[in-house]
Point group: C2
Chain length 145, copies 2
DNA sequence: AATATTATTGTAATAATTACAGGTTAGTAT
DNA sequence: ATACTAACCTGTAATTATTACAATAATATT
C-alpha cells in the first residue's frame, strides 16, 4: 500500500508527470487527499478546504478528482452510498465499511489469489473488494448494550 | 450459486417465508428477476413489466426491491454506475463488468480465501468482489480493428 | 510582459431515488 | 361470501449527487 505520505514537492512532481496543470486548487485537493486518508467524499473535501479557499467551488473538486482518477492517481470507492468516495491509495487493497459508524477500513489482500478460471479470457483492469459489517469498536458497543 | 430458476409457486413460498405480503406487482418483479439473470436496473425492470402492467409505477419497483433486499432475497450490485443493479443470486460470487459493452458476468470465487488477519476482530456481513475490464467478446473486436 | 490555453466558478440542468397522500388491494375474521 | 383493517400501489413532488455551460481568472510559454 502507498502508506507513505508524499511531500508537497512530490505532489507537484506527480501532477507534472501526469501532465496535469498545476493550480492552487488542485494542489490543495491532492494535499488534502494525501494528508487525510479517510476516503473523503466531495462534500467532505469541500467543507474542509472551504475554510482556506472560500471561493472554492464543488465543480472544481469534481473536475479535479475526475482528472486525478483519469490519471490513475486516485481511485473511486463506491460502497453503496449515494456519494462517491475517493481514495489516494491506488495499490490493490480491500475496503471494509462499518454499517454502524460508517467508517471505512483498508485491509491488505492477495489479489492474485482471486484469479478465476472463468475469467481466463477476460482482460482485467481493476479489482475491487468490498466487505461490510461491524467494526470492532461498534461490535463492542453493541455487546455492552 | 443459485443457478436454478424457481417456479412461480416457489416464489410465492419465498415471499411468504419472509413475511412479505403477496401482490401482483411484487410477484411479477420477482419473477422477472428470477427469469432474467441480467442484474437489471429499476429502469429495465420497469420497461419490461410496463408492457404487462401498464399502471406499474417505478416507486413500486423501488419499494419492492428494497423489501427484497431487506429480506435477503436480492442483492444490490453497485458497479460505479449511477443506477443500481439488482441480483437475485445471493450466494457469494464475483461480478465482472465489461467497460466496453457494459455487460456483467458472474464468476465463482472462494470467498473464504479472502479472509484477512487484519479483519479478525470485525464482523463481516457481506463480501463483494468487483472486477472490470474487457470481456472476451469486446477484446476480440478490439484486436480485429 | 503578452498571449493562448486551460482552470475555476456559479448557476442551471440532469437524473436516480425517496417522501408523501389518496385511492386500491390483500389478508383475516365474521 | 362479506366486511374490515392494515398494508400496498400510484403519481407527483421533493431531494440530492453530479454534470453542462458560459464568463471570468489563472497558468504556462514565447
Amino acid at each position: 500500500m502507498k502508506i507513505m505520505k508524499a511531500s508537497y514537492n512530490d505532489l507537484v512532481t506527480e501532477l507534472k508527470n501526469k501532465e496535469i496543470r498545476l493550480s492552487h486548487q488542485r494542489l490543495m485537493i491532492l494535499k488534502y487527499m494525501n494528508d487525510n486518508r479517510i476516503h473523503p467524499t466531495v462534500d467532505e473535501i469541500y467543507t474542509h478546504l472551504n475554510k482556506e479557499i472560500p471561493t472554492l467551488s464543488k465543480t472544481t473538486i469534481y473536475n479535479t478528482l475526475n482528472a486525478l482518477v483519469e490519471a490513475g492517481l486516485v481511485r473511486i470507492v463506491t460502497l453503496g452510498d449515494k456519494e462517491s468516495k475517493y481514495d489516494i491509495v491506488t495499490d490493490d487493497h480491500g475496503h471494509f465499511k462499518c454499517n454502524s459508524c460508517g467508517n471505512i477500513y483498508d485491509f491488505e489482500i492477495k489479489m492474485e489469489s482471486l484469479g478465476s478460471d472463468e475469467l481466463k479470457d477476460f482482460k482485467i483492469h481493476k479489482k475491487d473488494v468490498y466487505f461490510s459489517g461491524l467494526c470492532p469498536h461498534c461490535l463492542k458497543k453493541k455487546i455492552e448494550n
